[in-house]
């Protein structure tokens, strides 16, 4: 079936099977491998992409559902101004190790920041509970995002 969506800022037409998941279309058909395959159960967040600005688990999201919507992957987000402060705070705090969770983490943080959902430590803990990281132990991620929130809310 034909679908039409805005993908990383460009109008795109795709031919997808009804049962195909968005993650497979992105990775296998479009070569957009920034979103990663891991748990396939919407638990880990490694496959997170933004659909109409909201984080979704692409492993469980039907590609067909993106028809008429705006989809952002890390390949699109990384060249926008909003990426820089997130990347900078993550680098400063070494809030990544193997990197497998990182793209999903970055996109989720962006979406939550845009919605004003990240305001303090409790909201960060809650907001990012759907993005697992097995390497960092989360301390550095909490500190990195905390810094970002402080900077954004500074007068």
């Amino acid at each position: 079936m034909q679908i039409a969506l805005e993908l990383n800022g460009a109008q795109t037409s795709l031919d997808v099977e009804p049962q195909e998941f968005l993650l497979d279309v992105l990775r296998d058909d479009l070569g957009l491998t920034g979103a990663k395959l891991s748990c396939e159960a919407q638990v880990c967040g490694a496959c997170t992409v933004l659909v109409d600005g909201a984080p979704v688990s692409a492993c469980s999201y039907l590609a067909a559902e993106t028809d008429g919507r705006v989809v952002t992957t890390i390949e699109g987000f990384r060249d926008t101004p909003a990426f820089e402060p997130i990347a900078a705070t993550f680098t400063r705090h070494a809030a990544l190790q193997c990197g497998f969770c990182t793209a999903g983490m970055v996109l989720t943080i962006h979406a939550l920041l845009e919605d004003g959902d990240l305001t303090d430590e409790a909201s960060i803990r809650h907001g990012l509970a759907g993005n697992l990281c097995r390497c960092t132990g989360y301390r550095a991620i909490l500190d990195a995002v905390g810094d970002l929130v402080t900077t954004r809310t500074a007068p």
Binding site: A94, C98, G137, Y138, A140
Partner: protein, 752 residues
């Protein structure tokens, strides 16, 4: 220095094996046994063969031209099950097709007829007299276990490690205090977020694989032996790994992918799903009987341990895990007598292998619970009993092995202080501390090459793998320090056995220490070369020349490295190449080692809700006793990661098997810690005594905190008044322990 790979990973540009596409590549899928133990009666691939897009199907019949068994410790593992499956999840066949969906549909269309065989589901069943054997016939030793000559197996016990010194029975007979207990340690899944993935290509040039392996040179050796190809014609490339933690140690999905590619005549990529990786490797579950003897005033006398490690249907790293567990069982104390009998046991379950701090994670918590019980009976604080009984630097840990190379008393005092040990606490709060040692470094063979280019930048070639720990950054820093130039001008890229020289393995906390030492020596060779060129410019006293800020200096005169290189080669071009290596001083045997003792120290504060059994970890503290911290920020990150994994393992991670079948093979039913589980406070204290064998006195870290935190949480929960004998400390387990304790108290009151 910031991580060299941060930008790539943040931008989603870092390549992992599952992202790779090579020309003409096919997609592979494995058919796995649903039965824990069964004879394979027949395999009918006709329906699958006929499906459009299916290129080839591999079964055991395609492996009869080679000796299809591998296994670095015990060569017991066939590439595909031959006549018989020994665990649920064992590969029986594999399909290569033009796309993933077709490969999966074809796997479902293969019809296999099985005949059930009796399932040996647990260690108890495996150890029973007349237990069915998981493996018949003699076991063949593998080539890479480093444990000396392996003894004959006894029934389902494939390896045994024993320690026996002092008169253990006499000491126990006369001791004032004897603590005894039986402990159960669960199987866990390492859960590296990237699953096992391999791309394999077999052609006239040889075999080339891109694989998620931590030890590419060991995998290369096994592939070369399996397929009868010279080592130099097997090429293993390892890009970034999405985590390892031991789950990608040794050989996993490589042989089956190579065999499938060999038959297909085209490259094949196989990417495990999470449920497949969960039956590819897991942590050994273990039961142990532990006894501790002491005097009435808290002097520790003797430790007696029997432990049984469930290695699943194939040995993988079982023998080494068992040996390291045996070494960790006594704990780093001045015992008069020690007896350990650790057995590695086959069962019809998925094979167990390496996981962070194995051995220490298994047994430290049990031993430390008993040390605390001795302390309670002797009227001593847990810190004080350790202060009195811990080994001191230079004392013998085990006979013939490396003496203790750390200040454990200093470390335990620091960790207690970092936790706030002496602050007042309420009745629901428990505090625990734990000290252990892990035999670290694995086998000390590593080599490196440093090449300086005509523009003065440098390249480090080293065969260890980047799993996330940041070693590419650390190696650049080490080389930069030696070459007196900014580390940012030094690159250290991925592992490719064609170009990066031999490194035995990445694991056992060895990379900064051993591969780093090789890098230091290689950089030093280039340094010497630069100085010798400078000496031709400024003949006279060589002591008057030194290297600083990317140039050679003699008094007020200087020449940059590019100028020196141009002088050597008489043109704009050329490279200075330096080589360095590490090899064992003695035989490099396990008994003579380890390379260094990794300190496993943790402290934890917990709050136990007696109504619900819920345990919350409120604070943690760990010690990274690293000799010299090459990159302190990355050292702290290791302890932070180890702490969260420790919390997961102590409180909720458990693989549940029933009759050999894994019940919770998904992340909904196997709980991994999330950011919500992070304690309010955690501290890592870096201790630098320059007492390591690595560059600038460094020694490794990354695993000690894992064992230390698991043990500290156990001792903290015990301190809160809950008896602990089994992990993980789920609310149900804790609640039941409290119930039993309350019932017992009520009974005693009633009869009192």
């Amino acid at each position: 220095m910031a991580r060299a790979d941060a930008a790539e990973k943040l931008r989603g540009e870092a390549q992992y094996v599952g992202d790779l596409v090579v020309p003409r590549m096919l997609h592979g899928k494995v058919l796995r046994s649903p039965h824990a133990h069964a004879r394979i009666v027949s395999i009918d691939t006709s329906a699958a063969d006929a499906m459009p897009g299916v290129v080839t199907i591999l079964t055991a019949a395609d492996l009869m031209d080679i000796d299809p068994y591998y296994g670095h410790a015990i060569k017991d593992r066939p590439i595909l099950a031959i006549d018989r499956v020994r665990f649920a999840g064992e590969p029986v066949a594999a399909v290569a097709a033009t796309d993933q969906a077709t490969a999966e549909a074809a796997v479902r269309a293969i019809v296999v007829e099985y005949e059930d065989l009796p399932v040996v589901a647990t260690v108890d069943a495996a150890m029973a007299p007349d237990a069915p054997l998981v493996h018949d016939g003699p076991l063949r030793p593998g080539d890479f276990h480093g444990l000396g000559t392996l003894a004959e197996r006894e029934g389902n016990v494939c390896y045994r490690y024993t320690i026996d010194r002092g008169d253990i029975d006499a000491v126990f007979a006369t001791a004032d205090i004897v603590v005894e207990g039986d402990y159960v340690f669960p199987s866990a899944y390492q859960y590296a977020m990237e699953t096992h993935s391999v791309v394999a290509q077999v052609d006239g040039d040889g075999i080339r694989i891109w694989a998620t392996c931590q030890h590419p040179f060991l995998v290369r050796a096994e592939i070369a032996a399996l397929f009868g190809v010279p080592l130099g014609r097997v090429r293993v490339v390892v890009p970034y790994l999405g985590g390892g933690f031991g789950s990608k140690s040794y050989t996993k999905m490589e042989p089956i992918t190579v065999a499938l590619a060999r038959k297909a005549g085209r490259p094949v990529r196989i990417v495990n799903r999470v449920d497949e990786s969960m039956v590819t490797t897991r942590r050994h579950n273990m039961t142990a009987r532990v006894r501790t003897a002491a005097t009435s005033n808290g002097r520790l006398l003797a430790r007696d341990v029997q432990a049984w490690f469930d290695t699943g249907a194939y040995a993988d790293n079982g023998p080494r895990v068992t040996a390291t567990g045996g070494d960790a069982a006594p704990g780093p104390y001045r015992w008069s007598a020690v007896r350990v009998d650790a057995a590695c046991v086959y069962t019809n379950t998925a094979p167990s292998g390496s996981y962070r701090a194995f051995g220490a994670s298994h047994l430290q918590w049990a031993g430390e619970l008993q040390v605390d019980e001795v302390a309670r009976r002797a009227g001593l604080d847990p810190i004080e009993i350790r202060r009195r009984n811990l080994l001191r630097r230079g004392e013998q840990v085990r006979p013939g092995g490396k003496p203790l190379d750390a200040d454990l008393v200093g470390d335990v005092e620091k960790v207690a202080d970092a936790l706030g040990w002496s602050r007042a606490k309420d009745p629901e709060t428990g505090r625990g501390v734990s000290v252990g040692l892990l035999a670290a470094g694995a086998h000390p063979v590593s080599s490196a090459v440093v090449r300086m280019e005509a523009d003065g930048t440098a390249n480090v070639l080293v065969g260890s793998t980047e799993l996330g720990q940041g070693q590419r950054t650390a190696f650049a820093q080490i080389a930069g320090e030696v070459l007196a130039m900014p580390a940012e001008r030094i690159t250290c890229q991925g592992t490719d056995t064609q170009f990066t020289p031999y490194d035995r393995s990445t694991g056992a906390s060895r990379s900064t220490t051993l591969a780093g030492l090789a890098v230091q020596r290689a950089a030093d060779a280039v340094r010497v070369d630069l100085l010798s060129i400078a000496a031709t410019i400024w003949p006279g006293d060589p002591e008057a020349i030194d290297l600083r800020d990317g140039a050679a200096w003699c008094g007020a005169e200087s020449r940059t490295y590019p100028e020196l290189i141009a002088k050597r080669f008489g043109l704009s071009g050329g490279q200075l190449i330096g080589e360095g290596g590490v090899h064992p001083e003695g035989t490099g045997s396990y008994a003579e080692g380890p390379v260094f003792w990794e300190v496993c120290i943790g402290a934890a504060e917990v709050s136990v809700d007696r109504e619900t059994g819920v345990v919350r970890v409120t604070r943690t503290a760990t010690i990274a006793d690293v000799g010299t911290a090459i990159n302190p920020q990355l050292v702290e990150r290791q302890d932070e990661g180890a702490t969260m994994q420790g919390i997961g393992n102590a409180l909720f991670e458990e693989l549940v098997f029933s009759e050999g079948l894994l019940l919770n093979d998904n992340l909904l039913e196997y709980r991994i810690p999330s950011l919500a589980d992070l304690p309010a406070e955690s501290t890592c204290v870096i201790v630098e005594n320059a007492d390591g064998p690595g560059p600038f006195g460094a020694k490794g870290c990354g695993e000690g905190a894992f064992a230390g935190i698991i043990a500290a949480i156990a001792t903290a929960v015990a301190d809160a008044g809950v008896p602990v004998t089994e992990l993980p400390l789920t609310p149900e387990r804790v609640w039941r322990a409290i119930e039993m304790q309350d019932n017992q108290a009520r009974e005693e009151e009633g009869t009192g």
